[in-house]
């Protein structure tokens, strides 16, 4: 908001110097606001890494800082995906870790001793400030006037819009933290290169594109958008040699740069996602050659030349494509990509992709929630781009179409839509304000002038082409209309700021590792079960004790407990995940051999029934069943976990398959000891549990956290006397019942 009023002052400034100074100050303030609004989580909780993926990035960063770059590059991690291991150095996007490593070492050489954790936590807010600056630059390329109001507004929107904050609060140390800055900045450099037709800007664009490729898998968005823009320009008959220079420099250098990343490697010449860029590259060579020939010979001859040449090239290219595809040189499109076109594709074919909540299609309210007033200014901004359609405006239009589609398909791609929404909305608002404020005069003096010289501003405003201003109106009248419009815009913008702050503080600032709840008296109560359990693992188990859990918790166990895991959030091996799913959803007699084969020492489950924490494993259980069913359709059947009436139940009416599954047993083992007889209750699913809880033969309870959110079981060794586990356990129960109850005693909820 400060941008607005200050902008009016800025145009009032007499010299260019004042304006530049004001712009710098405003941009600094915006960057400050962007950083500050992301610090809710640090202030409310602590400086901690959030969620799941960031824990892996954090662990990798620590490895990089400790062992140096070359070891990081060749890192083979034998502590994940036991017993397979993971070639971590070759299967990650190293940009994020290298960025924080460089910052860490730079600060060290400046003798500022700072913890690597704090760098990781604060990296995303710091880069959001830069993103705001990049949005300013990009928007300034769209406006022809030298007033930077649109740019400043775009910077402000980019800084505080929740759509971007959702992935960049302090502690959310994920690839998107730096990738959005790189995305916007690469687009800015592309526009710059295209406008000037300069190889230098093209090379800069390629370098930042390379950085983007090193940072985020979403680089494919740029890889597809720039060729699309070039193609649209050619189709509109706007081919120019500037386009040739910019695009070819970008593609030649950028593709080579992207191939330097081991994880990307040969993909740019092998997969279909990258083919549009290559195709347009070849196409531009042809167009350039043709346009040269056109300048050389008269039109009639050019036509015959064109037909022969184009026909020949088309035939050759078609033959080449057919051969390449049939031989199998070009890989077919990847599964994640198919799911972008057909939203139900993943649900049918790849449950592991569909099971991730951020891959779901976007709900309509999410657009308003994440973008607020920008979402209805967005079409207006795109319309304004049509009014003076230059090459760079075509880019915004293309980006808007492309981005809106993908944001509608996948929740997480809202992130790629946000920059263009900010730019377009800023264009719309600034054109409204420029029209109604008459940017030439400062705001307060203009109010005075408006009455005495009413005709002058009216004439000025008539340039804007708005009906109301072009009519000959009386001075007071226009003054009121101006005031109303400007006041309305001001109020909207203020509401936008309120909304952003509210959303940020309520929806996006929870670390999800630490949960917060309100006590009856309104004070905040911190639920810290995750860290409690991981700390227990760290202190009470052998250093190479293998932990089996669902893949969601793999990164956290690796990062916080520092123990080897079977599967984690890098879901590269579907079969291995299905194995874990099978172990979780089968009977104990089936699961035990699987766990022995994988040398599992402990099993970890997340259980929210006591607290009413809905993100627990029983709620995710159906995905485990589905994924296991994908590999072993004969042994695991999803239908068996539903009652005959099609209900998913956990109480006395649950199906046999459900009651006998390892996951169910581990979750509810001993749970009824907490309650008076017959009163055991599941607060997530609102079910009353049977009086007799499940029994476990092959596992023994090792640890249960304070609020029972995390339960850890130890896998029993083979029986000393060679009995199978169920008979051994039955023997124990039959003879030592008294002792067992004495040892256990009634379970009491610890309250502190």
């Amino acid at each position: 908001m400060s941008a607005n009023s200050l902008e009016a002052l800025a145009s009032a400034g007499k010299g260019a110097n004042t304006r530049t100074l004001l712009r710098v100050v405003i941009l600094c303030l915006i960057a400050g606001a962007a950083v500050a609004s992301r610090l809710f989580s640090v202030i409310r909780f602590e400086s901690i890494i959030h969620e799941f993926d960031p824990w892996f990035n954090f662990r990798a960063t620590k490895y990089l800082v400790a062992n140096g770059f070359y070891k990081f590059w060749d890192w083979f991690d034998d502590r994940t995906w036991h017993p397979l291991g993971r070639v971590t150095g070759g299967t990650l996007y190293p940009g994020l870790m290298v960025t924080s490593g460089v910052i860490y070492h730079a600060l060290r050489t400046l003798t500022i001793p700072v913890d690597i954790r704090n760098i990781c936590v604060l990296l995303a807010p710091a880069f959001s400030g830069l993103t705001a600056f990049a949005a300013y630059l990009l928007t300034n390329e769209m406006t022809t006037t030298d007033s930077a109001s649109a740019g400043l507004l775009a910077a402000l929107f980019m800084g505080i819009t929740p759509g971007y904050i959702s992935r960049s609060v302090a502690g959310s140390y994920d690839n998107e933290a730096i990738a959005i800055f790189l995305l916007v900045f690469t687009f800015y450099l592309w526009i710059k290169a295209l406008k000037q037709g300069s190889m230098l800007w093209g090379a800069m664009c390629a370098l930042f594109y390379g950085y983007m490729v090193a940072s985020w898998g979403g680089y494919a968005f740029i890889t597809c958008l720039l060729p699309l823009h070039a193609f649209v320009l050619i189709c509109m008959g706007r081919y120019s040699s500037r386009l040739y220079v910019a695009y070819c420099t970008w593609y030649a250098l950028g593709t080579l740069a992207s191939m330097q990343i081991p994880f990307v490697g040969f993909l740019p010449v092998k997969t279909s996602e990258h083919m549009p860029a290559l195709g347009i590259f070849g196409f531009l060579q042809l167009v350039a050659f043709l346009s040269y020939v056109r300048s050389a010979i008269p039109g009639r001859q050019y036509q015959t030349f064109l037909w022969l040449f184009a026909g020949g090239t088309f035939a050759v290219a078609l033959a080449g494509l057919v051969i390449a595809t049939s031989v199998g040189i070009i890989a077919p499109w990847g599964g994640r990509f198919y799911s972008l076109w057909d939203t139900s594709y993943a649900k049918i074919h790849i449950p592991i992709i569909a099971s991730v909540s951020e891959h779901q299609p976007t709900a309509w309210p999410a657009f308003f929630f994440d973008l607020n007033l920008l979402i209805w200014l967005f079409p207006a901004g795109v319309y304004l781009c049509f009014q003076n359609l230059a090459d760079e405006h075509v880019f915004i239009v293309v980006y808007a179409l492309f981005g809106s589609y993908f944001a509608g398909v996948m929740v997480r791609l809202m992130l790629t839509l946000t920059p263009v929404v900010c730019v377009a909305a800023a264009l719309a608002i600034s054109s409204v304000l420029d029209t109604y404020l008459v940017a030439k005069a400062p705001a307060p003096p203009q109010d005075l002038n408006a009455e005495e010289a009413s005709e002058a501003p009216a004439k000025k405003a008539s340039k804007g082409g708005l009906k109301s201003t072009s009519k000959p109106v009386v001075g007071v009248y226009s003054y009121i209309s101006k005031g109303v419009v400007v006041a309305a815009m001001t109020i909207y913008l203020l509401l936008f700021v309120l909304h952003c702050t509210w959303v940020t503080s309520n929806a996006y600032s929870s670390p999800s590792v630490v949960l917060a709840s309100k006590m009856p008296d309104g004070s905040q109560h911190i639920i810290d079960d995750y860290r409690e359990a991981y700390q227990w693992l760290r202190q009470n188990t052998r250093e190479d004790a293998k932990i089996m859990s669902w893949w969601d918790y793999g990164y956290q166990i690796g990062g916080m407990a520092d123990r080897p895991t079977l599967v984690d959030n890098n879901t590269w091996n579907n079969t291995h995940i299905a194995t874990v799913g099978k172990a979780m959803s089968s009977r104990e007699e089936v699961s035990y051999p699987i766990m022995r084969q994988h040398e599992v020492d402990y099993v970890l489950v997340v259980f929210g029934a006591l607290l009413g924490y809905s993100g627990d494993d029983i709620n995710k259980f159906l995905w485990m069943v589905r994924i296991a069913e994908g590999i072993w359709p004969d042994e695991i059947k999803e239908r068996e976990f539903f009652t005959p009436r099609g209900e998913y139940r956990v109480d006395g009416e649950a199906t046999e398959a459900m009651k006998n599954s390892l996951m169910y047993k581990m979750s509810y083992y001993n749970y009824n000891a907490l309650f008076p007889p017959g009163q055991a209750q599941d607060r997530v699913r609102g079910a009353r549990l049977p009086d007799v809880g499940p029994t476990l033969d092959t596992l023994e309870e090792a640890y249960t956290s304070e609020n029972w959110i995390i339960r850890i079981y130890k896998v029993k060794d083979l029986d000393n006397l060679g009995r199978d586990h169920s008979s051994a356990a039955a023997f124990e129960r039959g003879h030592k019942k008294k002792k067992a109850t004495k040892k256990r005693g009634p379970r009491v909820l610890r309250v502190e």
Partner: protein
């Protein structure tokens, strides 16, 4: 690089001078008449035979004829209108095309086993070709209006910078 640029700066005016001199000396007779003549005479030659051919001979013959005409026109236009320096660039580009084609042929015939090596070699030629083409476009007089911000010296400096990046990536990728 600094040396290179300096050299470029020094050579460009002299080279320009020499090329101008050479072009005027070698083609002094046509050059003086070339700009108006080349625009007019080929058109005349192209137009005068083609209606005749169309009326007298078959369709295919006309096609063939005009196609030859087109190629001839392009060649003559190229030889007459292109400055010496640009021709040098074109020779370099032709060389790059030859090298690239050779590598591709090898890849097709002998297999792409060190795929890294093939890719970096091939993309070095392609990239250098594209960069040279960009330099050629930027230094051509007729395109001046398209590039208000790029002087020939700036174009050459950009070209050197981009080539350095290109070859750095290629060497890094070659294994």
């Amino acid at each position: 690089m600094a040396k290179n640029r300096n050299a470029a700066r020094e050579t460009t005016p002299s080279a320009a001078a020499t090329t101008q001199a050479s072009s005027t000396s070698t083609s002094s007779k046509p050059a003086s008449a070339a700009p108006p003549a080349s625009a007019a005479t080929p058109v005349a030659t192209a137009k005068s035979p083609s209606p005749l051919a169309a009326t007298t001979s078959s369709n295919a013959a006309k096609h063939n004829n005009s196609w030859e005409q087109v190629v001839q026109n392009i060649a003559s236009h190229y030889i007459k209108e292109t400055p010496q320096r640009t021709k040098l660039l074109d020779a370099f580009m032709a060389f790059l095309v030859a090298v690239g084609a050779l590598q591709f042929l090898y890849c097709v015939l002998a297999g792409n086993y060190p795929f890294n090596a093939f890719l970096s070699g091939f993309s070095a030629t392609v990239g250098q070709f594209v960069l040279t083409a960009a330099l050629r476009i930027q230094t051509t007089e007729a395109n001046k209006s398209d590039f208000p911000a790029v002087s020939p010296e700036r174009a050459f400096a950009d070209f050197v910078f981009c080539s350095l990046i290109l070859h750095f990536f290629c060497v890094n990728f070659i294994n």
